[in-house]
């Protein structure tokens, strides 16, 4: 039986003050990150933010200009990539084209000197783990993108590495496959209990799979927190704007409270201390009232039906444009030109300087 | 991934060795053609023979005209055909490709062995001029010209462009001359350059059909005027190199222009 199932024997990973400079470009600027044993941390950010650089330095495929990396307390500076005992899944094209799926998965074990029957047995187990046991004799070009990535995952895990690294593993796949595979990866990661670093530019992915999400920008870690915390309580402007959608609405802050559309709401730490600014309000936090007797302050511009929810674009009396996200059952009663009343839920908001 | 220092050193040494191997004969040609054997002095006198000697000069002119003529005939024959196939008769594209690549599989020597009757018939019409070589030469350059133009056509998605132009009311002639042709210029120029390079050095057909082109003449005078012969050979390869250099400059130029306009 697999001895790695739910064993919880993951190791801790420490990135300490990592900096990577290419000429005038600071790809990484003092990144410090601690990953607990068995944890899945996602690094999220736009391209060029340094997330892939950090991952590659951890893997040993790139060298930091300064700072250090340690796994299970052992400093890995100077340890070559081939000896770091990590499993890596690349964005695409990483399966060896001339080997069967089984041979691909067994490759790492072959490098470690296992004999054929041992490594093929282990490889078969891994293929079962990712649900591809009948495909052992096929070649990479005969598989779909999603299947190829599952094989890549099996291959990375076959050697029982101490850390799993995923470099935008879903970015090259179709939307539907992406969602399925993301859950699959998380399931396997939990079952094996391996410490994992997952790099992506897709926030939905990051929020869905990770124990904690670190948002990066220009080589620096802006905020790292559990998904819900990150979404509800962004601590910097970048995080508030990057994660989820926002309406920027005028608000005045006094005494830890901001007044937005007439409703007082608490402010999140990191907000403007006092005075006039812009409150970042989530579309789903806007409340629409269609009651004809109530006071209206906006008119509907258009309604986008997206399935179970709809997005309603509104023109406010003061000329601002807002976007509200509501259940489609509500939105279906709205037509362009209708007058509605808009207020906000009393959730905490981040207020930035206007 | 960083390359180890020993690899860098190995690479440098090997590249130098290769460069030496390829440069050596060229240097030897330069040396030979400019040296008076008795005294070891340097002289360009034998290079001058290329223009002073009547027969030699004539053969050079013949080759140059032949090169240009072949390029022109190739363009007239091949470019409209290939564009036409892409736009109107896509089912024929495999046939055309096969025919254009066929000369790669049929040695020039074989073609010349079997072409005597055809060439006799041709000289009946145009007289006994070396320029008649243009006709078989176009066949020899077909594979290279085809690849070049085909790549250019593939890169611009001819069908979509022509359908867009047609839907806006353009005639086929307009599509051909003003939409497609300007966009494949680089490919056409590249094909023309390869044509010139090939014709300037072509020996098989010219010698076996007894026409006095430059390569044939150079081979003939080697025993008598060795230095001039070598000078001529070196000059022709330098001309080809120059042409290819100009071509790569032009195509890079166009590429960057396109990129910035995008």
């Amino acid at each position: 039986m697999t001895e790695t199932a739910r064993s919880g024997n993951g190791v801790a990973v420490e990135l300490t003050d990592l900096t990577r400079v290419y000429g005038p470009v600071r790809a990484l600027d003092g990144l410090t990150l601690h990953i607990a044993p068995g944890e899945l941390v996602a690094l999220l950010g736009p391209s060029g933010c340094g997330k892939t650089t950090a991952l590659r330095i951890l893997a040993g495929l790139d060298a930091a200009t300064s700072g250090s990396v340690s796994v299970a307390g052992k400093d890995l500076t100077g340890v070559p990539a081939s000896k770091r005992d990590m499993g890596m899944v690349f964005q695409a094209y990483s399966l060896f084209p001339h080997m069967t799926v089984l041979e691909n998965v067994a490759f790492g074990l072959k490098m470690r000197g296992q004999d054929r029957s041992a490594r093929n047995g282990r490889a078969t187990e891994m293929l079962e783990l990712v649900g591809l046991s009948e495909h052992g004799n096929r070649y990479a070009h005969q598989l779909s993108g999603g299947q190829q990535q599952r094989v890549a995952l099996a291959r990375a895990l076959a050697v029982q590495p101490s850390v799993l690294l995923l470099d935008e593993p879903l970015s090259a796949l179709d939307a539907k496959v992406r969602a399925q595979l993301r859950d699959e990866i998380r399931r396997v990661q939990l079952e094996v209990g391996i410490t994992t670093l997952f790099v992506t530019h897709d926030q939905e992915e990051a929020l869905a799979v990770a124990d904690r999400v670190g948002v990066m920008n220009q080589g620096r870690l802006e905020q790292i927190a559990a998904p819900a915390e990150l979404y509800d309580n962004p601590t910097t402007r970048f995080v508030a704007e990057f994660v989820g959608l926002n309406n920027k609405m005028p608000a005045t802050v006094t005494d830890g409270s901001a007044v937005v559309l007439g409703t007082p709401v608490p402010v999140i730490e990191g907000s403007l201390a006092s005075g006039a600014g812009l409150a970042m309000v989530r579309p789903e936090s806007l409340i629409l009232t269609t009651d004809s007797t109530a006071h209206t302050n906006a008119s509907v511009v258009s309604v986008n039906f997206l399935g179970s929810i709809s997005r309603v674009y509104l023109d406010m009396s003061d000329g601002e444009r807002l976007m509200a996200q509501v259940a489609s059952a509500v939105a279906i009663r709205l037509a362009p030109g209708d007058r509605v009343g808009v207020t906000v839920e009393p959730n905490p908001v981040l207020v930035i300087a206007g | 991934m960083k390359r180890s220092l020993s690899f860098q050193a190995f690479r440098a040494v090997m590249l130098v060795l290769f460069a030496a191997f390829f440069a050596l004969p060229l240097v030897a040609m330069l040396d030979f053609s400019t040296k008076v054997p008795a005294t070891g002095e340097r002289t360009w006198a034998d290079w001058g023979l290329l223009v002073r000697d009547e027969a030699l000069r004539q053969s050079i002119v013949t080759s140059l005209i032949l090169a240009v003529l072949t390029a022109v005939v190739m363009v007239i024959l091949l470019v409209p055909t290939m564009i036409w196939v892409r736009l109107r008769v896509p089912g024929a594209s495999r046939l055309i490709e096969f025919l254009c690549l066929l000369p790669l599989a049929i040695p020039a020597l074989v073609i010349v062995v079997g072409i005597k009757n055809v060439m006799a018939w041709v000289s009946y019409f145009v007289g006994d001029t070396p320029l008649a070589l243009t006709l078989p030469y176009v066949i020899l350059v077909l594979p290279f010209a085809y690849r070049s133009i085909d790549a250019a056509l593939a890169a611009i998605d001819v069908r979509t462009l022509s359908e867009a132009a047609r839907s806006l009311g353009a005639s086929w002639l307009t599509v051909f001359a003003r939409i497609v042709l300007p966009n494949i210029m680089t490919g056409v120029l590249s094909a023309a350059t390869i044509t010139v390079a090939l014709v300037l050095g072509e020996f098989t057909f010219a010698s076996l059909l007894n026409y006095l082109t430059m390569p044939v003449q150079l081979a003939a005078i080697y025993k008598v005027e060795a230095r001039a012969a070598v000078a001529g050979a070196l000059a022709s390869i330098l001309l080809v190199a120059l042409l290819l250099l100009v071509l790569s400059y032009i195509s890079r130029d166009r590429r960057t222009k396109k990129g910035s306009a995008a």
């Binding site: 490759f107 990375a156 | 030979f32 074989v110 176009v138 390569p215 081979a219």
Partner: protein
């Protein structure tokens, strides 16, 4: 709502299926190729079966004679050896070139130079080597001055098989570079990184991944080089004035022979043999290429 208009019919042949009209425009090209390529080829293929205007197998039987077999064997040896040497050195050179900066000057310059050198043929190439390692060649003189004895000059080796092998290699290597570059570029960096990540050293990467992936295109390119050498004529024609050590020169002798009349048909038979060999090699090359192209998607 607009009234239904009948569909405007355009000129015949705008559909995708075969229709006569537009195909007619291809006639000039097809006629040209037929006259200047197909007719000569058919002439050669059929001509070998005739002698003195009558059907005869005598010319084909001559293909089995000692002299012809000897020349054929030499052609095969020449083509195979220069194909292997050219392929190996060319593959090495390709790797060395591509190992550097992909946008660097060295890369672009070398590939262009290879384009020029692969066109080097016939007269130019023959002269180049005659003045390098021939009796009064640059290298010959330098070496004899340095070593005090005549290393190259005497034996006339340049004008026989050893010389041909050396000289052919000069254009086989650049041809290999041109043909092999796409294959080496097809080696995805992810394979190297994945292999390293899984514990492979440089040596093991090449042994398990690099070489196996490159072997099919390498062999295919070697086949191409073989066909190229087998069909080559001009260089040998200029270098070798006496004798017919290889098949193409035997064809020359048959064509230009004043000694034996009626050798024309023998030339056809020899040319037929050449066409058969080259065609077979090119077919194998094509088939092999298609088979392995799937991998490097």
């Amino acid at each position: 709502m607009a009234v239904d208009q009948p569909a405007v019919t355009t000129k015949a042949g705008t559909g995708r299926r075969f229709s006569v009209g537009p195909s007619l425009a291809l006639l000039p090209f097809l006629a040209y190729v037929a006259v200047f390529l197909l007719v000569p080829t058919v002439t050669v293929v059929l001509g070998g079966f005739f002698e003195d205007g009558r059907f005869s197998l005598s010319n084909l039987r001559t293909l089995g004679s000692a002299t012809v077999l000897h020349a054929t064997w030499n052609s095969i040896v020449l083509s195979a050896s220069t194909a292997l040497i050219g392929a190996t050195l060319g593959a090495l050179l390709t790797y060395l070139i591509l190992a550097g900066n992909p946008h660097g000057l060295l890369r672009r310059a070398t590939v262009s130079v290879c384009g020029v050198l692969a066109q080097f043929g016939g007269v130019t190439l023959a002269f180049a080597w005659m003045v390098t390692v021939g009796p009064n060649g640059l290298l010959t003189v330098l070496l004899s001055d340095a070593l005090g004895k005549d290393t190259f000059g005497g034996s006339g080796w340049l004008y026989d098989m050893p010389g041909l092998i050396l000289v052919y290699t000069y254009f086989q290597i650049p041809l290999m570079v041109i043909v092999f570059v796409p294959a080496v570029e097809g080696l995805r960096p992810q394979w190297r990184e994945a292999a390293t990540n899984l514990g492979a050293s440089t040596w093991r990467y090449w042994r398990e991944v690099g070489v196996p992936v490159l072997t099919p295109p390498f062999l295919a390119s070697a086949l191409l080089l073989f066909a190229n050498a087998f069909a080559a004529y001009a260089t040998a024609a200029v270098l070798v004035s006496q004798g017919q050590p290889i098949l193409p020169l035997m064809i020359r002798a048959a064509l230009t022979s004043e000694v034996v009349l009626g050798q024309q048909n023998l030339a056809f038979a020899l040319a037929l043999e050449m066409v058969v060999v080259v065609t077979v090699v090119m077919l194998v090359y094509n088939w092999y290429l298609k088979r392995t192209a799937r991998w490097l998607q």
